[in-house]
């Protein structure tokens, strides 16, 4: 019985386990121990990797990839806003939220892949700089949290049953959490540029 009950929430349980693991690692100061060991990788990414070399040698390519990163974030933002504001009942009230959620997910996923790919290139070009930025690590954490949230919690739950059968507060919580996480990703990303 326990098995049948828990199997409905496999993904949510994985997410909780991942979050617990992060907390345990933080308490045991594992992150603080790993952090110095990452510096050579970031220095290598900046000065020796192909991405770093292209990014530091050709400013125009770097700026163009930055623009693609921004455009990808714009698409992520557009799809997140459309679906989450629909879930909150602010926009598209005459459209079924199932249609909007399913219809935008592919474009969201493609934009996320594009944002991550271009983000790796951008980070490699300034690897020795971003390593020391707290805001960069906050963005990385928010990005991981956002991706896990979308693929392990939000989409599985919204696809599992008609939305009117889900507790309205659960739906609202999903939408607000999603909006907050992706706003954090975008805002911290912008702040990296100022730091």
């Amino acid at each position: 019985m326990l098995n049948s009950l828990l199997s409905q929430y496999t993904r949510s349980l994985i997410l909780v386990a991942v979050l617990l693991l992060i907390v345990i690692l933080e308490v045991l100061e594992v992150r603080a121990a790993i952090y110095p060991g990452l510096l050579p990788f970031f220095e290598w990414a900046r000065s020796s990797s192909w991405l770093g070399l292209i990014g530091t040698t050709y400013g125009s390519i770097y700026a163009t990839v930055e623009a693609v990163h921004l455009l990808s974030m714009a698409v992520i933002g557009g799809t997140v806003l459309a679906t989450d504001l629909r879930l909150l009942g602010v926009v598209f009230r005459d459209l079924p939220s199932e249609t909007l959620t399913k219809g935008t997910h592919k474009v969201f996923s493609a934009a996320l892949i594009s944002a991550i790919a271009t983000g790796i290139f951008c980070a490699a070009g300034v690897g020795d700089k971003v390593y020391y930025m707290e805001v960069f690590w906050i963005k990385m954490l928010a990005l991981v949290a956002g991706s896990l949230f979308v693929f392990l919690v939000k989409q599985p739950l919204l696809n599992s049953m008609p939305h009117d059968e889900i507790n309205p507060w659960t739906i609202r919580l999903l939408a607000v959490t999603s909006l907050l996480i992706w706003f954090t990703v975008a805002a911290t990303g912008r702040w990296i540029g100022f730091s």
Binding site: G77, G78, V91, V107, F183, A187, R190, W191, F194
Partner: protein, 190 residues
């Protein structure tokens, strides 16, 4: 003539107290820039969803005009915030921005993008028949969507180029670029 006028105007703006305050403030310029860029998610995010729908890439089971109609308001709000923050960014650094080749090209693309949006809107209203529920819009609207995507990608890319100094007045000696960027003093010195 026009370059001299724009440069004089930029110097006048730069001398204004509020322009200097925007640059001197520790966070004011950064907040303006952050708002300008983050509003992309509302304005261009909404616009791209409409364009993707016209091309049959997204939400094909939602009537195209309904999607465009519902996203119109957030999109316009996004663009209004972008224009206000964009204007303030120019006001904060007027001489540097007005003499930027990328800024000038961006403004040209912006004008073209708005003309395209106006034509697109008119064509969408004039289009008759059952296209609204078709997965792909008629060719004229698809073309408008592609032009819109290309122009806005160009606007964002050129906006991203503005902080880079590759062709700034003090860097290049190419007379065509100097003229196009409005580098009056450098042109007079040649």
């Amino acid at each position: 003539m026009i370059n001299e006028f724009l440069l004089d105007f930029a110097h006048w703006m730069e001398a204004q107290q509020y322009s200097q305050m925007l640059v001197a403030g520790y966070y004011s310029y950064s907040w303006l820039e952050a708002t300008h860029v983050l509003t992309l998610m509302v304005s261009i995010g909404s616009l791209f969803i409409i364009d993707f729908r016209m091309l049959g890439l997204i939400l094909t089971d939602v009537p195209a005009s309904k999607l465009a109609d519902r996203l119109h308001k957030p999109m316009i709000i996004g663009f209004v915030i972008m224009f206000i923050t964009g204007a303030l960014l120019v006001y904060a650094k007027p001489v540097e921005t007005i003499q930027s080749l990328w800024f000038r090209m961006k403004m040209i693309l912006l004008v073209l993008a708005f003309i395209n949006a106006w034509v697109f809107n008119a064509r969408m209203k004039a289009a008759s028949g059952s296209w609204n529920t078709d997965s792909v819009a008629p060719k004229s609207l698809r073309n408008g969507a592609i032009i819109s995507l290309v122009l806005w990608c160009g606007v964002v890319t050129l906006g991203r180029y503005i902080p880079y100094d590759w062709v700034d007045c003090g860097i290049t000696n190419n007379t065509t670029i100097l003229w196009a960027a409005g580098c009056v003093e450098q042109l007079n010195a040649l």
